[in-house]
Amino acid sequence: MRKALAPLLITCLLLTGCWDQHELKKLLFVDIVGIDYAGDNRQLKVNFVISSLREANQGGGRPSAISYETTGVSLFDAVANTNKVVPGDLSALETRLYLISTRFAKDKPLNILNASSQFLSNPLYAHLAVYDGDLSELLSRSKIKDVPVSDLLMGLLEGEIKRGKIPSNKLLHYILGGTNFINDFALNRFVPSGEGARLAGLALFSDGRYTGTNLNNEETQLANLMNGAQGKIQTIVGRMDGSHYSVLVQNAKRKFRIVRSGEGINHIEVSLKLDLKIVEEDTELNKHSKDVFKSLEKTIEEDLTSKAVEVIATLQKANCDYFQLGHEVAAYHPKLYGKMNWRELYPKLRIKPVIHVNILNSGILE
């Protein structure tokens, strides 16, 4: 009797398939969600870029992207309005990117984006980025140079993240109070370029709002390393004595040192130790001796320190504590932090970059 009952019980576990099944052919996989304001009011203008594989029965298939533009007071309202004009069920199961306009970014965008956590089956590994241009116009193009717009944008982002040149801005890190402690962060920024778009550094946010200040690509890479990114053979190209050098970052180690003076902070040291491979120095080929390496190390240190000073100055000017130094002070000197107004103090704080360079080798040549 008991044995006969067992298979019946197992089929019981399949009951939910009767109600909560999703038919694959009816699902519309939203690849990119673009968010902007419609006109001058606070109504959201949302673009859903839906990716699909056409003619899949003929082998590899043809990837295509269709964009639907809709308006709504919130993300859920926009989804509901899209469902009225598009047959099928929108699914966030494969959403890879939330792209926001600069206008929307200036108005505490995370408050609206919090609702994305309520999308069922939302993987939350989607990236968050800013587009400094006409968002609807970019996303309305199904293909750019024969590549679907979603593949182009995601290809650029993922490639540069893998190369350690830009930070990974996953949505999960920011929403629902993720940036609560110091609500300052920096998002990857796209700008229009020719027919499509290109990456153009970081957009700086202060207290949850886009400041309008940006870091360029070169500054972004250095800021990323100063924020604790690992060495991933990133290329650094710099100038020295009227010429230029190219190095690859093998290892990177970042440390903060808070130097106190009485009841306050004298300065904060952002120390960055880099193990480099020098692959190009001047246009002439030179053989490297120990002394040459030493002199090169010093020159590169000076060049990178001056660049780091500029990065920190830009961050302080925008009042964007991208390195979360406030959190560092609160964690290690909680009493001191409790007495200070970090938002007011941060732009005036002495932040000193200390860069140590160690040239490991000159690539595969002597």
Partner: protein, 366 residues
């Protein structure tokens, strides 16, 4: 005494681990965030150590009556009328605990996955499987738990490996910023997670162990595993989410698993929630089993059949489930159950131990 098949020390270990790990793995960091803040892991660790004291207490009590379970020796200590009443209270407590766990897990499934499936189907699905298992012997339950133990092992690996996706140790600092008071409150809140070791109250005489101390060793190892599991879960969640995020996200583990981006498996969080049923059901059927045994011991030679009691409990739970559709009700009732746990598995064994010592002293004195 009603007959029961004996189990080995290893089987006791498996069954206790599976009972101690319940739905709290999903929600503990969220519950603790409101109480203990960044010191969650200390509170959970302390709570585990308190549970170890509880194990010692029950082991000590059990070693006084090595041939009998709690339901039979309780009448010897407190007298027959009170003993029978206490058996009834234990029966109700375990039935209620199983009921609460079923509604809690059904609520998680309903919110995360089976949005359209009727509530009663989810309840019925879980209750029938648990009821079927609970009609077995202690040895059969132990064998099932031994088989299922692979699920928490895989779950543990998934959770701890997700920590490599970026964590911030600063979230744990400063340690004990609010003093010991929030930590102690947090330890109380976390105690219900470790409940399950009280199985020893019933199982003590049925464990075939080389020595009395061997039994204690198996119980302590099981508790140590539960401590490591819970502390690791809390550490991973606290370092990956901000405190604010943890207060908003009721099941942070599910959010962490949403962060996994794998080419071959989609939505690891959903898979985890489904397979986690093995862990939750292991707890529920043990509770139903203990409840039915308590009711059977309302008479010296056994009152009714185990299967009848189990299915009666299942029917009562199913009927009660219709009144627990609101999440706030489940949380409110869970707080009551937390209090009942402390009274029944900590305070009561202390009282019984004191009374039994007094009885022995008086007997020896006479």
């Amino acid at each position: 005494m009603i007959k029961e098949e004996s189990i080995t020390g290893r089987q006791l270990f498996a069954i206790v681990v599976m009972v101690q790990l319940g739905t709290e793995v999903l929600s503990l960091p969220h519950v603790e965030a409101d109480v203990a803040g960044q010191d969650t892991w200390i509170a959970v660790l302390l709570s585990g150590l308190f549970a170890q004291l509880g194990i010692l207490l029950i082991w000590w009590l059990g070693s006084r009556y090595p041939d009998r379970n709690l339901y039979t020796y309780i009448s010897t200590i407190v007298g027959k009328p009170i003993g029978l009443c206490m058996n009834a209270v234990f029966g109700l407590y375990y039935a209620f605990s199983g009921f609460l766990l079923t509604t809690n897990y059904a609520d998680v499934l309903k919110r995360w996955m089976f949005v359209l499936s009727p509530w009663w189907i989810l309840l019925l699905m879980l209750l029938i499987v648990c009821g079927y298992a609970a009609t077995s012997t202690l040895r059969s339950l132990a064998l099932i738990s031994q088989t299922m133990i692979i699920v928490p092992i895989v779950g543990f690996l998934l959770i701890t490996l997700s920590g490599t996706y970026g964590f911030d140790a600063k979230n744990l600092l400063p340690v004990l910023s609010g003093g010991w008071n929030p930590v102690m409150k947090g330890a109380y809140a976390a105690f219900s997670s470790y409940v399950g070791y009280d199985l020893l109250l019933y199982a003590y005489p049925y464990v075939r162990s080389r020595s009395n101390k061997g039994l204690l060793l198996w119980m302590s190892i099981a508790n140590a595993i539960a401590i490591v599991f819970y502390v690791a879960v809390c550490l991973v969640c606290s370092t990956m989410f901000s405190l604010r995020q943890l207060t908003y996200i009721p099941e942070p583990i599910v959010f962490i698993l949403k962060n996994y981006q794998l080419e071959i498996i989609q939505s690891l969080d959903i898979l985890f929630l489904i397979f986690y049923a093995c862990v939750v059901l292991s707890t529920i059927y043990v509770y139903f089993f203990l409840s039915s045994k308590a009711f059977m011991h309302l008479r010296k030679n056994g009152w009714g059949k185990q299967s009848v009691w189990v299915w009666a409990i299942v029917c009562a739970c199913f009927a009660g489930g219709f009144f627990m559709t609101k999440r706030s009700n489940i949380i409110q009732v869970a707080a009551l159950q937390d209090q009942a746990s402390v009274y029944l598995i900590v305070v009561l064994p202390v009282i019984l131990l004191v009374l039994s010592t007094l009885q022995r002293t008086m007997r020896n004195g006479v």
